[in-house]
Homo-oligomer: 325 residues x 2
């Protein structure tokens, strides 16, 4: 087993992507006020985070505008309200879900947009649609990633085919996504090797997007990193759906590149993330998420259980066990 | 790198040790009522946990009885009040700190005690005293472990000497202890290999005791396990000093030995651990612990900070940074 880099040095190829607004938007229907988003943008700039993801490019034919905050749709003017022309070194990303967007209508050519990267989220069963979207975004001038979700439910042979399809595409980064927070570091190691074996030959990078159902989001992220993944997703305070994500403060505490500055993230955390929690936003590890993670299930049942304020975890375990086994 | 076992099978050599009362006692000065301890004992029995640690054998010359609950001292009659003669397959452990106990006075011969194992906790600088205690406990008929604490501050050559000393002793299990929660899985891997290289030749086992300062207690425990460590410490709900320990519910969710039954631990968690938290006991991961972990510091400053209810993490970071760098 060869690790890339060491705990004493840093790899300049590593890019940190802040997904706080995008994954965190799943907690509060993207209803962040402009001050929150602006202060996060400034904190990320000062911390020298490499990419900031602002939200989804969701189709207004499918989702009603009144049901969500601006970051579900990421109109060009919404982003510019925060970043102006973004005359900075930090790049701006948005996510587009296969089947839930209309990029032909909603995405400007790169020359007219402050967005730098479009991340295409797909299940492994819809790879051809994902690749069409990747090629379209690439043709408009954007960097692209392909985030194959729920990989813990896919079989190795299908993953291999998906990776081969992506190797022939224009995609820049192939993301390993542990949607259910069910993978252990050993599995992340094997998967990262499989992804890299395909990606490296064609000059693509591999990324990691982790969830914290089993308190392994940070561990899995640094495991993927040490195996060679170079795009690392994190959110401040782990803000994200269900058990949340790899915490930005943990990740920046780990990475050795002197440019990263954790202080500005800590300040944003104490001023804005803690108050979000006080205002009633609910996310983060609890035993219900551990159980859906352990069972390799979508966290939706644990999210409902948690929202109901329930703590009868043994009963919850038996219920999901009966449903699945 | 060779892992021992696989994610699909189980290793019969693995023993799970519940340290809830002992490490958790550092949170509430060992003031657990008998119902709590008895229900935990019964839950561990039903879950088929292998060892349950009841607390410390601390010297009453050094610590006043009125300042602590019974489990600081683990008198024979205190333990028997809970377990009777412990006519079960679960073994009973206590911990004794070098320099803080009087085993000649306070430890009965094994034939007169329900205690099965004495765990000797030592810093690497007091190995000769630890080994004297190990030999004394062994001569009384007990199983023994040596828990070398704060290993993240020790250098590799000193660890090697300590391991050689232990290899010539009667100790049964050599424990890797990440007291400050500062070690990353890569380091746990290297250390476990180093410990095993010494232990295996002389028929000793290696154990892992992790802390959760960087949300790595579970990840580090399963990393040590997969490298061959076979004694795994956990506490229900991570109850333990500061950021707490590897959660028993996470560990039993991971291990594949069919005898382990997570349900009884979940029930104890929801009935007793949650109410302990409601009653004001304070433990578990927060950003202050992440920062002492990252800085490889004793968690005491983070414990004080947390008890004061402070959340100015950036200020805390600068303060500990100034003190150390």
């Amino acid at each position: 087993m060869e690790r890339k880099g060491s705990l004493m040095t840093y790899r300049p190829d590593i890019k940190v992507l802040d997904a706080t607004i995008r994954d965190g938007g799943l907690v509060n229907n993207f209803r962040f006020d402009d001050e929150f988003v602006k202060k996060l943008y400034l904190a990320n700039l000062k911390a020298e985070v490499d990419y900031m993801e602002f939200g989804y490019k969701a189709s207004k034919d499918i989702f009603k505008e009144e049901d969500y905050g601006d970051w579900k749709f990421c109109n060009e003017d919404s982003i510019r309200r925060i970043v102006g022309n973004n005359d900075t070194d930090m790049k701006i990303a948005v996510m587009a879900d296969v089947g839930r967007c209309n990029l032909e209508r909603d995405l400007l050519p790169k020359s007219e947009s402050v967005i730098d990267m479009v991340r295409i989220a797909t299940y492994i069963t819809t790879m051809p649609a994902a690749i069409e979207m990747i090629e379209y975004c690439h043709s408009l001038g954007y960097e692209t990633t392909c985030n194959i979700m729920a990989i813990s439910k896919a079989n190795t042979a299908d993953i291999e085919v998906a990776l081969e399809m992506l190797s022939k595409s224009s995609v820049d980064v192939i993301y390993l996504v542990d949607s259910y927070g069910s993978l252990f570091p050993e599995q992340i190691q094997t998967l990262t090797k499989q992804y890299l074996a395909c990606a490296e030959d064609c000059g693509k990078a591999v990324g990691m997007h982790a969830h914290n159902n089993q308190q392994l989001a940070f561990a899995n992220t640094i495991e993927a990193c040490s195996m060679g993944a170079s795009f690392l997703d994190a959110t401040v305070g782990s803000l994200g759906r269900g058990a949340g994500n790899c915490a930005m403060e943990l990740l920046l505490g780990f990475l050795k590149n002197p440019k990263y500055n954790i202080t500005h993230i800590l300040k944003f955390y104490e001023e804005y993330i803690l108050s979000l929690k006080e205002q009633g936003a609910v996310w983060g590890y609890n035993v219900a998420y551990l159980l859906t993670g352990k069972m390799n299930l979508h966290p939706s049942s644990a999210i409902t259980f948690t929202k109901e304020g329930r703590t009868d975890y043994a009963e919850f375990y038996h219920r999901i066990f009966d449903m699945e086994c």
